[in-house]
């Protein structure tokens, strides 16, 4: 069992890189707030999906269960972004 050849190791590396991109890249003032916030939560959604599929093994779960859990990283970031744009419209 070579750890480096495992799919989960590639996924872990990808998640680490994405975390660095959002924490020390998108959080800076290089982009407009809307683009940065959408990017940050889109990446968070992708990260949660990969944690579910590859770490929690939902990729091999019964289809209805898999889709029920996969709704979370779609609905939650969309809800947060909905509130964010509503708040921005009020300011």
């Amino acid at each position: 069992m070579s750890v480096l050849r495992e799919r989960v190791t590639m996924v872990w590396l990808g998640l680490m890189v994405l975390t660095c991109v959002t924490t020390w890249g998108l959080s800076k003032d290089l982009l407009s707030p809307a683009v940065a916030v959408v990017g940050i939560f889109a990446i968070a959604a992708v990260k949660v999906s990969y944690v579910m599929l590859d770490f929690m093994e939902l990729r091999n779960a019964p289809i209805p269960v898999r889709f029920a859990f996969q709704a979370w990283p779609v609905v939650v970031p969309m809800m947060i972004l909905g509130f964010w744009f509503a708040t921005s419209a009020l300011v």
Binding site: M1, V3, E6, V8, T9, W12, L15, M16, T19, C20, T22, T23, W24, L26, S27, P33, A34, A36, V37, I40, F41, A44, K47, V48, V51, M52, D54, F55, M56, E57, L58, N60, A61, P62, I63, V65, A68, F69, W72, P73, V75, V76, P77, M79, I80, F83, W84, A86, T87, S88, L90, V91
Partner: protein
């Protein structure tokens, strides 16, 4: 003589027992409601939330995320080792999960200490109330999860688990990954969400 072999198809299954997944689903929904409540509070006072957000230690929050991702990865490797009956390797990966769980607790303690040293309390304003509530509930999950991983580590050192006896490790691992994915959403919600 030609031997025909059919492709082996693994049946679809959930790791551990179904009850753990009910608990994981319920916890995910509760946190989603908490996130919505936070955003609703932010809607009423975005200036205070933005000013308070700037006092958080973003670097430490990012490092916390890296720690938990590494922890999840280590636990996945532990489960894979058990599935392959590499029972000598499983304890070291589970220990990795325990140690990274402890690192997260230390990191969060430093962060809380910084806040209290600056005179910041949960009652200081709505943002800090939410900050301490969300990170505090999540920290309790980390403490509980690290305790479970410690139990797994001790038992795995005694060769209690194998490919045929892995229900308990899979339940604990699934819970630990939930702790990871909740933080993945809490971190940008509190630390990175800029005002327009």
């Amino acid at each position: 003589m030609v031997v025909l072999t059919a492709d082996r198809v693994e049946p679809r299954r959930l790791p551990g027992v179904d009850g753990v997944w009910v608990a994981i689903g319920a916890d995910s929904v509760i946190f989603a409601i908490l996130f919505a409540s936070f955003m609703q509070a932010r809607l009423h006072n975005p200036a205070v939330f933005e000013a308070s957000r700037h006092t958080l230690n973003m670097n430490l929050g990012g490092i916390d995320t890296l720690i938990l991702l590494t922890s999840s990865w280590s636990v996945v490797l532990g489960i894979q080792a058990l599935k392959r009956d590499l029972v000598d390797r499983a304890p070291r990966y589970l220990l990795g999960g325990v140690l990274t769980g402890l690192m997260f607790m230390v990191s969060k303690s430093i962060e809380y200490f910084e806040k209290f040293a600056d005179g910041i309390r949960p009652a200081s304003n709505d943002f800090y109330m939410w900050y301490f509530t969300l990170t505090g509930i999540h920290l309790l999950h980390v403490v509980f999860g690290t305790s479970l991983l410690t139990y797994l580590w001790v038992r795995s050192r005694r060769r209690a688990y194998s490919s045929l006896q892995r229900v308990v490790p899979e339940c604990v691992a699934s819970y630990w990954h939930l702790v990871d994915l909740l933080w993945i959403m809490i971190f940008p919600l509190l630390y990175l969400q800029r005002a327009a």
